[in-house]
């Protein structure tokens, strides 16, 4: 990497990041996120009733379902908006590589999400005040939660590369994120395994291994496994490669 590569990526990142704060959508999403993550935790999760105040069973449990909707809402503008405005053409005729733009934009969306996640820290404060929880699951839970959000964002980035419509991008991304979540949902996997002949169990387990859920739950249990982190990183890399292919097809 040359200095100019980093400078280009930073220029893209800066514009993208600041543009989030010009849009009311971001504030709406952050408020919904905070309300949803707190609401689910306290009301549905009966957070305060549970004996051990275990965050992993209450707080992080709901995160995938929140991200399935909110990450596409944050990311749907990534490339769709460039296509719609025609600024994509401008960007691709400037002296930077598509990768610099893809990474710069993705990192901007990722940082926005990191801020959202940091705002939920009040939950952690509450837990610490209620008892003295084990910090291990909290840390791995946050890492798992953030990686889940990034996975959904990367999927959204890929979808946005192919369409100029934010609505289409949103719907497609939500559908993909639901799919990637459900194929690993323990209840669903078990019932599928029961109905299919035993010889296919390996295949089902393999498919479920590819899902976000499988890797997410391991980590929220407080087991920090490099394998699961690598899984999410590969999901992001693959999704960004698909983004790159989508952008290239627009210029074919």
């Amino acid at each position: 990497m040359k200095n100019s590569d980093i400078a280009n990526t930073l220029a893209i990142f800066k514009r993208e990041f600041l543009s989030y704060f010009n849009s009311p959508v971001l504030y709406v999403i952050v408020v919904i996120y905070l309300l949803a993550s707190m609401g689910f935790t306290f009301f549905f999760g009966r957070f305060l009733d549970s004996d051990n105040a275990s965050l992993t069973q209450t707080f992080f449990f709901w995160h995938p379902w929140i991200y399935i909707v909110l990450a596409p809402a944050v990311g749907m503008r990534l490339w769709s908006e460039e296509h719609r405005l025609g600024t994509f053409e401008l960007l691709m005729t400037m002296p930077l590589s598509p990768w610099q733009a893809i990474v710069g934009k993705f990192v901007a969306a990722a940082l926005v999400w990191a801020i959202g996640l940091a705002l939920t820290f009040s939950i952690v404060i509450t837990v610490s005040w209620l008892g003295s929880p084990d910090p291990g699951p909290i840390i791995t839970g946050y890492v798992a939660s953030y990686l889940y959000a990034l996975g959904c964002l990367a999927v959204t980035s890929a979808a946005s590369a192919y369409t100029r419509s934010q609505v289409v991008c949103f719907i497609v991304s939500v559908a993909l994120c639901i799919l990637l979540t459900l194929i690993g949902y323990p209840g669903i996997v078990d019932s599928v395994v029961r109905t299919l002949p035993g010889s296919l169990e390996g295949l089902v387990r393999f498919v479920s291994y590819l899902s976000f859920m499988d890797h997410f739950y391991e980590m929220t249990k407080g087991i920090f496994v490099i394998r699961d982190v690598l899984y999410f990183i590969s999901v992001i890399v693959v999704a960004l490669i698909i983004t790159h292919l989508g952008l290239r097809s627009k210029r074919a």
């Binding site: 100019s4 400078a7 280009n8 220029a11 893209i12 800066k14 514009r15 543009s19 010009n22 849009s23 405005l85 025609g86 600024t87 053409e89 401008l90 960007l91 691709m92 005729t93 400037m94 002296p95 930077l96 590589s97 210029r251 074919a252």
Partner: protein, 242 residues
Amino acid sequence: MIQVQNLRKEFGAKVAVDNVSFTVEKGEVLGFLGPNGAGKSTSMRMVTGYFRPTSGSIKIGGIDMLESPEQAKKSIGYLPENAPLYSDMTVASFLGFCAEVRGITGAAKAKAVDRVLDLCFLHRVRNQSVDTLSKGYRHRTCFAQSIIHDPDVLILDEPTDGLDPNQKHEVRQLIKNMGKSKAIIFSTHILEEVDAACSRAMIIDRGKVVADGTPESLRKLVPGCASLDEVFRSITRSDLEK
């Protein structure tokens, strides 16, 4: 500065640009003429590195666009058709962003932005959101972006489209003046602009170059035609006839 050879672009079965070759040197302004759908924008998008040609070669200042696109793009300024802008930015922040992507930062950036705000008469709206600009100002903002790095090569796709007569005149003057030190290509379907700003013109029809020369020589191309307008109509076919 610009050397284009046997450029061809197919979209599926459709040939949008067919075997187009030309060179433009510093100090030349080449006008791209042709009816709608002739392939003017597609050609420019290949020269600027946006579209990849099906075949052919493009060199900008001796640098191959297909082999080292990032290097070749450095010396090009480009105004795409319809003047796209980021609608949530102000004029000055948009221009600042374009400068940064081109490696102009710090004090040099402020200077570059000021220079193009001056050249394009944008000072009055510098802190206005792009969203709220009138069409003429939007167009000039995108034009300003194309010259922020004072490029050797300028490619302008219908730079006077949608402007009022005064603005059209200003932009033509600007092109003509900059043409003294740069290699410029601009497309238009307004024939009077050829006389007003070009040192050379190419007429393109259905992807092919059908005439290439000075405005003078084009006028004499078809016997019996007195004006460029008549020449244009006799050698290109309108969309309706396809």
